[in-house]
Symmetry: C2
Subunit: 341 residues, 2 copies
Amino acid sequence: MTKKASGLVAVARLAGVSTATVSNVLNRPELVAPATRERVVAALDELDYVRSGAAVALRTGTSRLVGLVVPDITNPFYAAIAEGVTAAADDAGYSVALCVNHDDPARERRQFELLAQQRAAGALVVPLSAGSSRLSTLRRVGTHLVLVDRIAERDEGCSVAIDDVLGGRLAVRHLLALRGPRIALVNGPRTIEQCANRRAGARKELRRSGVDPDTMTELTVEEMTIDAGRRAGNALAAAGGVDGVFCTNDQLATGVIRGLADAGVRVPDDAAVVGYGDLALATDGPLPLTTVSQPKLLMGRTAVETLVREIGDQVDGGREHQHSATLFQPSLVVRDSAPAT
Amino acid sequence: MTKKASGLVAVARLAGVSTATVSNVLNRPELVAPATRERVVAALDELDYVRSGAAVALRTGTSRLVGLVVPDITNPFYAAIAEGVTAAADDAGYSVALCVNHDDPARERRQFELLAQQRAAGALVVPLSAGSSRLSTLRRVGTHLVLVDRIAERDEGCSVAIDDVLGGRLAVRHLLALRGPRIALVNGPRTIEQCANRRAGARKELRRSGVDPDTMTELTVEEMTIDAGRRAGNALAAAGGVDGVFCTNDQLATGVIRGLADAGVRVPDDAAVVGYGDLALATDGPLPLTTVSQPKLLMGRTAVETLVREIGDQVDGGREHQHSATLFQPSLVVRDSAPAT
């Protein structure tokens, strides 16, 4: 504030007017005589007074602000995406408005209205359960949207995601090569796109290896937690006869190992376990996890670059923008829970 | 953009002018005849066209944007603070610009310049190694600052922090009551204020209990990781004769338990271990940790409220602002690694 006041004072002095007049020129120029207005505008220019994103935003219609919409910033997967997003935004000269919605559409709508008021240039949206209708509601607010960790449907916009079908294939291929064809899948609800895709990859790989995918034991949990994994591990041990367990996140894998151990089934000697995610949990536990690693930082970075390109296409005055869908490949990180063959 | 274009078109139609004229009224009103300008302004108002934070920012000097400056958003402690900050900002009608600096002053300065250009109303700064000089550099950029997880020095500004001396006392009090006076401290570098304060609390509590604080075994690690904790646990087991180990974060506690187990020292039967932080790691491991819990969400929330109050004091035209230092108490969460006495 001190800064602004002294700036106004300097401008007023240079233009030979009162600070109230400078303020009027900035806010209600119609009240100021043209000759006076010109003097003040010249002084403003000379002193580079309004080095203000707000002025730029009024002129261009957008500011150097992009929204990042995530369900939960305490989830390390979304935090890793945010890390990549903020790094790329720094490089591109954008600020990142962090919007945490906890999958609450009302909260998300309020955040988007605020972003629109601030003339945000666009937003990166990591949807938990976004249907297309919800996204198009957000789009009506007027910003460019890039979907992250979700493949956009045709004409829906740009997207940056990870090939979860391939991830499922990598996990099951490793388990099949390591021990044998009796594979179990511990998975979250199939209504979550990522869960459905990881399962599809697992089944695909079994089929390619000549194993009937319907022979795969499938356990579905509501919440993909360590506790749910432990119960699944208990159940698998009771059923007996499993060579490898593919868990669709690292929490489930951690729990499954513990649940198998409860019943005396040792990992990896008696059964191998592969997780998904490669977050801190994968290496924090006593038995480091073999897991599918997603390029989270790269995904965040690319999402920003995709958005900046889309904004640029628009600023260049109608150069036709072609939506893009970028799909990154995951990789398998081999550790102790399912060692190298 | 479509939205903006159609908005301009609608305004132009209502005012009976071209869209170029509407654009001139918005950007270079001095070019437009007063009567025309009045018609356009009336149309803008009628259509609620510029419901724009940018316009508000130009008028008031600030926008409804606050910065959140953290060293690393993938660190779950900072992510938890961000969670509290975004929730409170939502309630107060502010957006949060997430600035991740990885303790790089140059990167931080660029972020602050961008925040200043965007007329951010202020910023919440969670410093890793901030000296006062660095903070005053940031303050010169012109935004209000609130320090988070660090007690501000006199006249430095508002701050919201957690009483780490009390945290150290709670941990050692529990260990003393549980088993005996032979306490070990596994700590990070004392140049980190939090580490120094937690140690000071540990020593204070020993003194209060009639134990000479210099009899406490102290192991200092460079990086406060699980691996470093494990090596510390190995060293403690080799030295022998410890009743309780106070680790100044949960990573160290997890490692110490593992390092003690390597040498056949069982936790909690042979020695009790208390961590600090109560992040996911505290409950993710096979042995749930007794740990000092910090009100991270509340700290984030209060930081926003403190900043909003400071901004309000300024907006109310010079009502004198009194800096405040809020210190929250941590609490001990008792789990298996150091059970109830």
